[in-house]
Amino acid sequence: MPTVIEMKGISKSFPGIKANDNISLSVEQGEIHVLLGENGAGKSTLMNILYGLYNPDEGQILVKEKPVVISNPNVAIELGIGMVHQHFMLVQPFTVAENIVLGSEPSKGITLDMNKAIKDVEEISKKYELKVDPNSKIQDISVGMQQRVEILKTLYRGAEILILDEPTAVLTPQEIEELGIIMKSLVSQGKTIILITHKLKEVMAMSDRVTIIRRGKVIDTLNTKNTDIDELAEKMVGRKVNLTVDKKESKAGTPVLEVKGLKALDNRDLEAVKGVSFEVNGGEILGIAGVDGNGQHELIEAITGLRKIQAGEVLINGKEITSKPPRDIISSGVAHIPEDRHKRGLVLDFPLYENSILGNHRAKTFSKHKFSLNYPKIREHARRLIKEFDVRTPNEKVKARALSGGNQQKLIIAREIDRDPYLCIAAQPTRGLDVGAIEFVHKRLIEQRDSGKAVLLISLELDEVMSLSDRIAVMYDGKIVGVIDAKDATEKKLGILMAGGEAQHEE
């Protein structure tokens, strides 16, 4: 196989950090090559250099064995390199076809030739077996579909080498599977794919070769066939990692959270939670599994008071909290690790110490006189949380914005758990985190359970639900379609329920 990309001795520094330190990488024609590393290891930096978004301080790039200088993305595109970013860059109110041709639109005189655009899109969509509807608007299609549009966009510009930056971070399990098929078909038609990820399972399932990067340096390049998950994890993190969750038998107590016949609407005023009932006992983790968009999001918001409840009841320790404002729900002993840490969990422009009391800022411990805040004490509190929960930060005064995703999540978990709640609601607590941080979050949730607290876990990652939960409830179309004991749960059983319980979905 000829080498299509060769990066030699690439170094790139940012103030205070060396993101890439003498990295060499070679990618062969027609392979799926994974760049594996924890968040902040320097994978994206390296690919942004290849795509011309950054200029390297040192090093050389060869494309098809010819030395090139990629000073901006236009050069990269001309060389046949395309990149799909983690956060999509699509115009929401435009149609699929409009987005794909954007920037290189076919024209008829001075007008846009929309018919040709649609025909072109249909053509490449067929050629690469990436089914899309050219006429639907981006805002109406699923995230998985949007990703296809992004991939088609690069193909439309004649990309031979595709860089996919964390493509699975936003996808449901099914969509991940579909993406795998798409990538295989692209490779079979002669394309080369560089995949950035930190998910080990995907490396094993999707790649031909894998290059592991840690702290800006290449650790190793391996053939996927000749390695396994444990070896990859160790190389990525730099120490032995425990990928399975250790936990003792649960000692379930009395119900802490009771939800009865709960109904709630989504943002478009359609019923999203259609009469849900369940309970979570002290000392157990109840996991809610389900494909994204089946009402989990609305369910959590309804329980925590962030969304109006249309019907039904929510009780904490037998006390009704239905439709109470979030403030009262917090003070009745509910902690909430929100699914979107930037939107809900943190005020990014507040320093860490102010974030460390969000939701708890009326507590007597933090006040001086009656209305004033005792800032020296708050800082002390923040320093303690940072230490106990191993939040990596220079000090407690930096803005939350300055931390990496994993450390932001640690801060939120520290704040919520330190409140000593009866119930801890963890919504996608490990989204976008690396192996080390995931291990940490899981340990803390188990600790909560073992100390007799109730934990409600909502996750789109089936593995996570299965390994942490004591009981698993499956949500489909706004209803709980089944509750199974985790011991009896299999991926197949859950999969059937997640798809609505129809027998024909059986593999």
């Binding site: 939107k343 005020v347 969000l358 805040l373």
Partner: protein
């Protein structure tokens, strides 16, 4: 152990001071830069910038009287600047400060003229508090509209400005009219705020009043409320991220109303001080007074920080008071507006900070490169 604690506290206090200096340093450099650029412009128009600026300084700080009059303008600008800054900290643009100012002024006439026979201290306090509250409700209503109906505070603020001006004029022409003239009746002597000239004869020619101390005191209180109290924490949280605030059990709507009410209080107080300490009456308005609008610039240059607002209000006071003297020297007083414009441009665009950050990044890069070569 205790000693350690004290040391920690000490270093924290020092850090707070450092932060304050840092926060104020960028605007300060921006101010100096904009004066230099303004000077270059004056030179380009064929005048001598040194003559221009010295005229400006003479006009605004040349003698006790002009200092006093500069501080009169500063008094209003502190309060209207504070009004805008407070709104900004909650993520709101209180463009209605103008109308709140007018409502404060006219309400002060109602109270100052309507109530009779009160002891002076009580009467003055009632006049100021009443004017402030009128502004507060004027602003709070805009906040309520935003919180309950989601209508934008800028549009409603502008509309309320027009209503305030027309309402004030209506009263000036009818219930509060003075003998068919284009101004209102005069407030009672007991409602007049203490002026410097009553006690110190050097200030005899200026209208400088105790309002200055009121304004500074209010700014300090605003600083404390915003940065040291639970309410301030909530208001700032709403300002930065409403979703996170809601998640944290903070009532977003109430805080929006409260912030707009407080912003209105400050602007209304400014208007009340104008009535109670300077004009003793309200003139029929041909348009806006401009104090509310200047407050926007003051807040921007003061970095929305109450202490910064005091300093920036002083600066704008100097610019506005010094303008006419420049004209006497034969230099267009529009230069003052040009300097103001450049100033806002520099501060709002955070120009100095961006340049400084770029410089720092370059230096660090060079250092790290040099180090590597040294190896």
């Amino acid at each position: 152990m205790d000693l350690q604690k004290i040391n920690v506290q000490k270093s924290e206090r020092k850090e707070n001071l450092d932060n304050l200096i840092k926060q104020l340093a960028y605007p300060l450099i921006a101010i100096i830069t904009s004066f230099v650029v303004g000077g270059l412009l004056v030179a380009a128009f064929g005048s001598n910038p040194i003559v221009a600026y010295s005229a400006m300084l003479r006009g605004s700080l040349g003698d006790i009287t002009s200092i006093g009059e500069t501080l009169v303008i500063t008094t209003y600008l502190i309060l209207t600047g504070l009004s805008i800054a407070f709104g900004f900290r909650c993520g709101l643009f209180n463009i209605g400060a103008e109308g709140q100012f007018v409502m404060g002024a006219i309400t002060a006439v109602w109270i100052g003229w309507g109530l009779k026979g009160l002891p002076p201290f009580l009467h003055v306090t009632l006049t100021l508090v009443g004017g402030a509250l009128a502004g507060g409700f004027w602003g709070g209503f805009v906040g309520w509209l935003k919180a309950r109906l989601g209508s934008h505070e800028v549009i409603n603020g502008i509309m309320m400005n027009y209503i305030a001006v027309q309402l004030s004029n209506f009263w000036v022409r009818t219930s509060l009219n003075q003998d068919g003239k284009a101004f209102s009746v005069e407030i009672a002597d007991s409602a007049k705020l203490w002026r410097f000239s009553e006690t110190f004869s050097v200030f005899s020619k200026t209208r400088l009043s105790g309002g200055l101390f009121v304004a500074i005191l209010v700014a300090l209180v605003a600083y404390y409320v915003l940065n040291k109290t639970q309410k301030g924490f909530e208001i700032r949280a709403v300002g930065f991220n409403q979703h996170a605030a809601e998640y944290g059990g903070i009532n977003v709507k109430n805080n929006i109303i409260l912030a707009m009410f407080s912003a209105g209080l400050f602007a209304g107080l400014a208007g009340a001080i104008m009535t109670s300490a300077m004009q003793y009456r309200v003139n029929q308005l041909m348009g806006f007074t401009g104090f509310g609008m200047d407050g926007i610039a003051v807040a921007l240059v003061g970095n929305n920080h109450p202490i910064g607002v005091i300093i920036s209000a002083l600066l704008f006071g100097i610019l506005q008071k010094g303008g006419p003297m420049m004209q006497i020297e034969g230099i267009a007083k529009e230069v003052v507006f040009i300097v103001q414009g450049i100033l806002i441009l520099f501060v709002a665009a955070n120009f100095v900070r961006i340049m400084h950050d770029k410089y720092k990044i370059n230096k660090e890069l060079k250092n790290s490169l040099n180090k590597r070569e040294g190896k």
